[in-house]
């Protein structure tokens, strides 16, 4: 039985919800599934992973807990574990962390790697992934001793496939490359959901008029458990930070629901949210490009519509 590994990603010590879809992408009755997680305290994940078909949970430990804050060290540890357990296929999230870790691993192994996969076919070793600003979907065949797949968050609906999960500890003894040193790590806003993995996103564009008005979106987001995004115009005007930008030169997102407020729907904005499950457009201009390519459109003033949405959602609770 071939062994396939899934790299576990956590947020504030818990498995990220979008990770279960990655396991589903790797699920296959023919294969043995291993989950790789950093830190001794991850042994408690076994119960959460059992319903999704993980046979072995490998907790990767090191003499110093700090050593895994070094990205190069993380990559080396994964490679050692892959070697030790004879893992030749690796799955993970195409998150910000995945965009650093997966290519580090692939480069060292000289292995093929495709990021942002929408679907993976393990039998013929092909994947589907968007290219050219999400205007095309490419079928890519990977060839190599190893193969590595980054899965687009929220793309694959998690499916259960219960098995017994056994926990194994893998102690990584390697030393760090002293040519790359982590000076400091400043964690992002605690509790904040990263855009790339959010299930619901409400975004604002030029129609927001200024930075303070984004508070209207924040309030609505809080009620829905959503993250707040923005168009490049809102970022370039200094209203919100670049980490909130959705699009070609911002973050690519794939939420279940995307609400675009005062965003016209440029090609470059669509390049970042085209695979969203459901798109809602709120715009004063009924002819805006976003209106033409959305699921639900309301032609009207966002400054009236969003507060009403927040109010009604609150009332529903």
């Amino acid at each position: 039985m071939e062994k396939i590994a899934i790299l576990i990603e956590t947020r504030q010590g818990e498995i990220k919800p979008s990770l279960y879809g990655v396991i589903t992408a790797a699920q296959d009755a023919e294969h043995e599934l291993l989950a790789l997680a950093f830190g001794a305290d991850t042994a408690r994940f076994a119960d959460q992973l059992k319903p999704y078909g993980i046979h072995h949970l490998v907790t990767i430990t090191a003499p110093s807990a700090r050593s895994f804050s070094n990205p190069d060290n993380r990559a080396r540890a994964i490679i050692r574990a892959m070697d030790h357990f004879d893992i030749r296929t690796l799955f993970a999230l195409t998150s910000l962390a995945g965009k650093d870790l997966l290519p580090r691993i692939a480069a060292r192994l000289d292995a093929p790697l495709v990021m942002d996969c929408l679907a993976v076919n393990l039998v013929d070793s092909t994947v589907e992934k968007p290219q050219f600003s999400e205007k095309t979907i490419a079928t890519i065949r990977v060839t190599g001793h190893h193969r590595i797949f980054g899965i687009r968050p929220n793309m694959i609906e998690p499916k259960t496939m219960p098995v017994e999960t056994e926990t194994v500890v893998f102690n990584y003894q390697g030393t760090a490359d002293d040519r790359l040193e982590v000076v400091e790590t400043r964690q992002g806003k605690s509790g904040a959901i990263d855009l790339s993995e959010a299930e619901i996103i409400i975004s604002g564009g030029r129609g927001m008029k200024n930075g303070e008005n984004f508070q209207i979106l924040q309030e609505c987001a809080q009620v829905m458990g959503a993250a707040v995004g923005a168009s490049r115009v809102a970022v370039d005007n200094g209203w919100v930070p670049h980490s909130m930008q959705v699009g070609q030169t911002g973050t690519t997102v794939c939420p279940k629901l995307y609400i675009a407020c005062g965003i016209s729907g440029s090609i470059q904005h669509f390049a970042g949210m085209k695979t969203a499950g459901t798109i809602v457009c709120i715009n004063t201009d009924p002819d805006a490009a976003m209106m033409q390519q959305c699921d639900y459109g309301i032609a009207g003033d966002l400054f009236k519509i969003i507060p009403a949405l927040t109010r009604q959602l609150k009332a529903h609770r």
Binding site: F132, H145, R186, T278, Y296, H316
Partner: protein
């Protein structure tokens, strides 16, 4: 072959010879271009191509580093079809000193691209710093910088939003999720993948563009670089247009009515778990 020993014996602290900054740039379709699929796995390339937007930040950073120290050479390198020379010209107009074009008859995958970049760079000189965009907007692979660093056996950081140069090292900040940051110090030579937040790329002026015409561009065929053929491959076997089926329903009525109707449809037919 590449002599690693020689590479590291170089005394990086005593900078008597010029500092060499290589900037790897890619020729990519304009994000606004209409993509037409002409063969099962080819697009019609009769569209506007540009210097990859993230690579613009890499060129800008190199040119700024050059402004800080007198003796710096900025060399733009591209791997691609003959038309990619235009992207080198854009980099030269932004202030790179000279260009190297590894000419191919096809668009290679990132495994081959990294090998070609490595071969072209070490054939040309000793890099102190290699800059490139964190991704190319055509293939969104996010990996060439890592493969290049592995081929040269030097450190790499990506998604870099600031660069500070020290004597023989650089300190960079890398973006983490939810607005977090990691500060990393890397010994030179090293590879940096640049993010949009790093700087605002300059627009070349007409005199810049004219001046750039005199700058040297060396062309070398990929076949002359004696690249070892890799065992691994990523091949595009088919392309299709991405069409998302959307409901395209307009919701009318008063503000309150239309919001009520929107919530009803989101929870109902769209099955969104609105808490």
């Amino acid at each position: 072959m590449f002599d690693a020993a020689l590479f590291y014996l170089r005394p990086h602290v005593i900078i008597t010879d010029p500092m060499n900054i290589y900037v790897c740039v890619k020729h990519v379709p304009d994000s606004a271009a209409t993509i037409r699929i002409v063969e099962p796995n080819q697009i019609d390339e009769n569209i506007t191509f540009l210097l990859n937007p993230y690579d613009e930040n890499a060129v800008e950073a190199a040119v700024q580093l050059k402004a800080d120290s007198d003796d710096t050479d900025v060399i733009a390198v591209t791997v691609g079809k003959p038309a990619a020379i235009d992207t080198l010209k854009s980099a030269l107009a932004m202030g790179a000193d000279r260009g190297i074009h590894v000419v191919t008859g096809y668009w290679p995958d990132s495994i081959v691209t990294a090998r070609a970049l490595q071969a072209a760079i070490i054939k040309d000189g000793l890099p102190d710093l290699i800059l490139t965009g964190k991704a190319a907007i055509d293939s969104d692979g996010y990996q060439t910088q890592f493969r290049l660093a592995a081929a040269l056996d030097i450190p790499v950081a990506t998604h870099v939003g600031s660069i500070a140069r020290n004597d023989n090292s650089v300190t960079v900040t890398c973006g983490l999720e939810a607005g977090g940051e990691q500060v990393i110090r890397m010994r030179m030579p090293c590879v940096i993948g640049t993010a949009k937040t790093l700087n605002t790329p300059r627009y070349p002026t007409l005199p810049d563009i004219i001046k750039a015409r005199k700058k040297e561009i060396r062309e070398v065929s990929i076949d002359h670089l004696a690249i070892e053929p890799p065992d691994s491959r990523m091949e595009i076997i088919a392309l299709k247009s991405a069409v998302q089926k959307r409901r395209k329903q307009m919701i009318a009525g008063s503000i309150e009515e239309s919001v009520t109707e929107l919530i009803r449809r989101l929870k109902g037919e769209a099955r969104i778990p609105l808490s």
